[in-house]
C-alpha cells in the first residue's frame, strides 16, 4: 500500500514536470517558435499523464487527457491546423488538465462542468467526428486476448492462454505488402512495472490504432518456486491490422521507452522481416532453440518438444494445477542469451536523481558546522602563535579552501532554476488577463537562473503580486491601448538574472506607467506624506510600497486582496531582499526584486560596535571610510549627515540604534560604512572598527527565540561566540523613525 502511494507520489511529481513541458510547448506554439518536435513534446506530455493516470484509475483525468490527446494527435499529424485560436484553447485545456491533476492528487474533484465544456470544445476542434466518437468511449472496449489454437492451449488454466512463440502471420517470410498487418513484439522489463506502467494500457493504446490480437509469450516464465514476484517475464506479440505509420505504433511505447523491448515489423514501410532470426539468436536453449532454428515458424505443440518430467508437475503449486509440465520444463531453462539480454536491460544510468530534500538540508547544516569549526581551528592556530608559514597553518589554508569548495558544491546541489516558479506564472497571467478583459503576452527570460531552494520557495509570492499588479494596474485596456497607438496586446516581461551575487527578478509592463500625480495625492490624502513634501519621481513611485497604500479606486478582485505592496516589500526585506519600482509615464513600469542567492550563507563585514561583534551583509556595503571631523555636519537637534563627495548622507550610529550604547560618539572616532538601502537611498553606518570580511553561516534567531528588529539573523564566529547579523534596511528605518521629528525629509515617516 505504502509502495503504491509512493509510486503515486512519483507520478504526481512527474505530472508537474510534464505539465510544465506542456505549458512550455504550448507557449512556444503561441509565440510561433514551435517546430514538429515541440508539438510532439506537447503530445507526449499529455499522453504520459494519461498513461500514468490510467494506471492509478484516475478516470476523470484519463477521460479529459484522452480528449486533449486526441486533438493534439490531429494537430501533430497536420489534420488540424495550428491557429492562434487553437493554441488559446489548448492553453485553457492545459489549465484544466492541471486542475484535474491537482484534484486527483488531493483526492478531490475538478470542476466537471468546466472540464466537460472544455472537452466539448476540444472535440469540436479535432479532425473529425470519428475521433469525437472514439472519445466518447475511451478504452471502453476491453482488449481481447485472442489465443492461437494450439495443442497445449487446452491444458492451460488461468486466464492467459499461452502459446509458444506466436508468429501467426509469419509462417513464411511473406513479402511485405501495404495490406500487411503489423507485428509488434513487446517485452516489458521489470522497470516498466516498477515505474507503475501497465502493459494493458499500452495494448489498449495499440487497439486504438486498429483491431489487434494479442498473444502472450510466457517462454521466460520460470517455475513458480523460482519466480521473482516483481520481475517481468511475459512478452506480448500483437498483430495490428491497420494502415498506420510505424511511428504511430512506436509512439504508443514512447513513454515506456527504455523500460521495454519493442520490435515492430511488417506493415507498410517495414524493412525485411527478421524476427525469426532475432528469436533464433535469442533462444539458444535447447527446447526453444530447436524451434527457433526451424525454417518455418509453424506453431507446434510444446509437448512435442520436451516431454513432461513428472516431478516438476508435482512441485508446481496449486494456483496453476493444470500447468503443463512440458511447458514448465521449457520455461525452466532460460538460455544464457536470455540472461545476457536481461543483464543488458539493467536500468541505464539516470541523468538526474531524486533525493529527499531533508537529506540535503542536513548536509548543508553539517557543512555549516564544518565551516564554523574550521574557522575556530584557524583562530586557535593564530592564537597559539604559530607562524603563518608553518606546516599547520599551511595545511589549515588548504582545509579552508576545501571547506569552501565543499560548501559551494553542496549549495549547488540544492540550487534550483527559477523555472519551477516561472512556469506557474503563464496560467496566472491568463487568469488575470481574463478577469480584467486585457490581452496580455507574458515573456519570460532567464528561467535557467539558479538560486538556492530556500530562496526559490519564497519567490513565488512576490512574483505573483508583481505580475498581478503589472496587469491589473500597469496595463491599459485594449481600447485605451488602441487610443494610445500601442499594440492591443500588452506585454509583461518576467526576467531573472544574476547580478552582483544576488538574484534579480524584474517584472516590467508596457502599460501606462505610474500616475505620479494620483499617487502623490493619494499619499497626501492618506496622510502618508505631508502635502508640501518635495519628492523626486523615484520617491513618488516608491510610495506605493507604503503600508496602507492602494491606488485602485475600487478594490479589485485581483490586486486588492488585502495584501498590498507593503506586505510584499516586508516579506522581501525579511529575506534580505529589496524591491523597488521605476516607471516612465506612457511607457510602462518595472518592478525590480533582488534577493540573496541563498539564505544559508552570507558574505559579511565583521565590525566591532560598543564591544560587540556584528556582521554587516557585504552586499549592502558600498564603501568604508574614516570620516574627518569636518565632514560630519549636524542636522537638526538629533541628526547628523556625512558629506561624501558633495552629497549628504544621513549618519546612523549602530551602537545607538541597537541600544548598545546610549551616549553619542563622534563618527570621526570610528569607521563609517556607506550602505545602500533598498529604495536606492544611502546611509552611513558608524562602527568602532572593522575586523575583516568573512563568509558566515546564517543561523536563525527565530527557531529558539524570535525576530529582533534591526537584526537579520545570527551567526557563529571563529571564537565560537554568536555574532548578530545586522539588517541594515531595518536599522536605517528604525533610526529614521526614531528621529522623525527632525527636519530631514523622510519618506518612511508613516507609522
Amino acid at each position: 500500500m505504502d509502495e503504491l502511494e509512493e509510486i503515486k507520489a512519483t507520478f504526481f511529481m512527474e505530472c508537474e514536470e510534464l505539465l510544465a513541458d506542456l505549458e512550455n510547448g504550448l507557449g512556444a506554439m503561441e509565440s510561433g517558435s514551435a517546430d514538429g518536435e515541440t508539438i510532439n513534446a506537447v503530445f507526449r506530455a499529455v499522453h504520459s499523464i494519461k498513461g500514468g493516470a490510467g494506471a492509478f484509475g484516475l478516470d476523470p483525468l484519463v477521460r479529459f487527457a484522452h480528449v486533449f490527446e486526441t486533438l493534439l494527435d490531429d494537430v501533430r499529424s497536420h489534420k488540424v491546423e495550428v491557429t492562434a485560436e487553437l493554441v488559446r484553447e489548448l492553453l485553457r485545456a492545459a489549465d484544466i488538465l492541471a486542475d484535474h491533476v491537482q484534484a486527483a492528487k488531493s483526492d478531490g474533484v475538478a470542476d466537471e462542468a468546466r472540464s466537460a465544456d472544455m472537452a466539448a470544445v476540444l472535440e469540436s476542434l479535432s479532425a473529425d467526428g470519428q475521433s469525437a466518437a472514439a472519445v466518447a468511449h475511451p478504452a471502453a472496449t476491453p482488449v481481447v486476448f485472442a489465443p492461437i489454437p494450439s495443442a497445449t492451449a487446452d491444458n492451460m488454466g488461468g486466464e492467459f492462454k499461452p502459446m509458444t512463440v506466436s508468429l501467426m502471420s509469419f509462417d513464411e517470410p511473406a513479402p511485405v505488402a501495404a495490406s500487411e498487418p503489423w507485428t509488434v513484439t513487446f517485452r516489458p522489463k521489470t522497470e516498466l512495472y516498477r515505474n507503475a506502467n501497465d502493459p494493458l494500457l499500452l495494448l489498449r493504446e495499440l487497439e486504438r490504432l486498429g483491431p489487434i490480437s494479442v498473444v502472450i509469450d510466457e517462454a521466460s516464465l520460470p517455475l513458480l518456486q523460482d519466480l521473482e514476484p516483481e520481475a517481468a517475464y511475459l512478452a506480448f506479440t500483437v498483430t495490428l491490422d491497420a494502415p498506420v505509420q510505424q511511428t504511430a505504433i512506436l509512439e504508443v511505447f514512447e513513454f515506456v521507452d527504455g523500460d521495454c523491448d519493442v520490435d515492430v515489423s511488417g506493415g507498410v514501410a517495414a524493412p525485411v522481416f527478421d524476427l525469426a532470426a532475432l528469436l533464433a539468436a535469442a533462444d539458444a536453449a535447447p527446447p526453444i532453440a530447436e524451434q527457433g532454428a526451424a525454417p518455418a515458424f509453424a506453431p507446434m505443440p510444446v509437448a512435442n518438444i520436451a516431454p513432461p518430467p513428472p516431478p516438476v508437475v508435482e512441485t508446481a503449486p496449486p494456483p496453476v494445477p493444470e500447468f503443463s509440465g512440458a511447458l514448465a520444463a521449457s520455461i525452466k531453462t532460460p538460455s544464457p542469451q536470455q540472461q545476457q539480454a536481461k543483464g543488458n536491460s539493467a536500468p541505464e544510468a539516470q541523468a538526474t536523481i531524486r533525493v529527499d530534500p531533508e537529506r540535503i538540508d542536513r548536509l548543508i547544516d553539517l557543512v555549516g558546522e564544518l565551516v564554523i569549526n574550521q574557522a575556530m581551528l584557524a583562530q586557535r592556530v593564530i592564537e597559539s602563535g604559530l607562524a603563518s608559514s608553518s606546516s599547520v597553518a599551511l595545511g589549515l589554508d588548504e582545509l579552508e579552501q576545501l571547506t569552501r569548495q565543499i560548501q559551494d558544491g553542496v549549495m549547488a546541489i540544492r540550487a534550483q532554476s527559477v523555472k519551477s516558479v516561472f512556469q506557474r506564472m503563464p496560467r496566472l497571467v491568463r487568469e488575470v488577463a481574463n478577469m480584467t478583459g486585457k490581452q496580455v503576452r507574458l515573456v519570460t527570460e532567464g528561467e535557467a537562473t539558479e538560486v538556492d531552494k530556500t530562496v526559490i520557495e519564497r519567490l513565488g509570492e512576490p512574483i505573483t503580486h508583481m505580475l498581478r499588479n503589472a496587469i491589473d494596474h500597469g496595463l491599459e485596456t485594449p481600447d485605451e491601448r488602441r487610443a494610445a497607438g500601442k499594440p492591443i496586446e500588452g506585454t509583461v516581461r518576467l526576467v531573472a538574472l544574476h547580478r552582483g551575487g544576488r538574484i534579480v527578478i524584474e517584472v516590467s509592463d508596457d502599460g501606462r506607467g505610474i500616475n505620479r500625480k494620483r499617487v502623490f495625492s493619494i499619499a497626501v490624502e492618506k496622510e502618508l506624506i505631508a502635502p508640501d513634501a518635495v519628492l523626486t519621481d523615484e520617491e513618488i513611485d516608491n510610495l506605493i510600497f507604503l503600508p496602507g497604500f492602494s491606488t485602485a479606486s475600487t478594490v479589485s478582485d485581483i490586486s486588492g486582496r488585502g495584501v498590498g505592496m507593503d506586505v510584499v516589500r516586508r516579506s522581501v526585506q525579511a529575506l534580505g531582499g529589496r524591491i523597488s519600482i521605476s516607471s516612465k509615464p506612457g511607457e510602462g513600469s518595472t518592478f525590480t526584486l533582488s534577493l540573496p542567492l541563498t539564505l544559508a550563507v552570507l558574505d559579511g563585514m565583521v565590525v566591532d560596535v560598543a564591544g560587540q561583534t556584528l556582521v554587516i551583509p557585504l552586499t549592502a556595503i558600498v564603501e568604508s571610510l574614516r570620516p574627518k571631523p569636518e565632514e560630519v555636519k549636524g542636522l537638526g537637534p538629533q541628526g547628523a549627515v556625512l558629506s561624501v563627495r558633495d552629497t549628504f548622507v544621513p549618519l546612523v550610529d549602530i551602537a545607538n540604534a541597537l541600544g548598545f550604547r546610549a551616549e553619542k560618539r563622534l563618527p570621526s572616532e570610528g569607521v563609517v560604512l556607506l550602505i545602500e538601502v533598498e529604495d536606492g537611498g544611502r546611509a552611513a553606518l558608524v562602527a568602532d572598527a572593522i575586523q575583516g570580511q568573512r563568509q558566515v553561516v546564517i543561523k536563525s534567531l527565530e527557531s529558539n527565540y524570535r525576530q529582533v528588529e534591526g537584526i537579520a539573523a545570527a551567526t557563529i564566529l571563529g571564537d565560537g561566540r554568536v555574532a548578530l547579523i545586522v539588517d541594515v534596511d531595518a536599522l536605517v528605518a528604525m533610526r529614521k523613525r526614531d528621529t522623525n521629528r527632525s527636519p530631514e525629509p523622510t519618506l518612511i515617516a508613516a507609522e
Partner: protein, 154 residues
Amino acid sequence: MTEPNVNLLDRRELISFRIGEQEFCVDIMAVREIRGWTPATPLPQSPPFICGVINLRGAVLPIMDLAARLGFATAETSARSVIIVVKVGERMIGLLVDAVSDILMITDDMLQVAPDVACDRVRSFVRGLISIDSRMISLIALDRLLPELEQLAA
C-alpha cells in the same frame, strides 16, 4: 508537554537548583543538558531577563536570566553560574541559575498548591510547592516562561 500526569501516584524526577536563597526545580524530562556559564551575546531590544544568545553546538540558544524572570534582582554571573538547557515545546532555551543542587524523586501527591497569598508572578510561574527534608522547593512551570516572548514579538 510536562503537564502533571493525571495519575497522582505517577513518580517523576526533578532537577532542583538555587536562585539566591530559594530553591526551585524543573521536570528532568525537559532538561537537555547542563553547562557552565559562557558569556552571551546581548540582543538588542530584548526584555531585561534575556541575557543574550550563546552557541550551543551550532544552534543559537537564547539565555534567560531566571532570577530576573521571577522578579528577583538580575543575577550576578560568575564562573559557578550554571545554564540549564531546557526544551519547551519546539524551542530550546537556556536558564541561567546560581547552582544546581540535586535530583529529586517525587510523586504527584507531594505537590502542593502555592498559597493564595503569593503574588501573581509567583503563581503564574510556580506550578506547585514540594516539601522535602524541611526544604521548600518550587516547581517551575516551564511552558509559562516563554509565551510572553511571543507577545513581545507581535
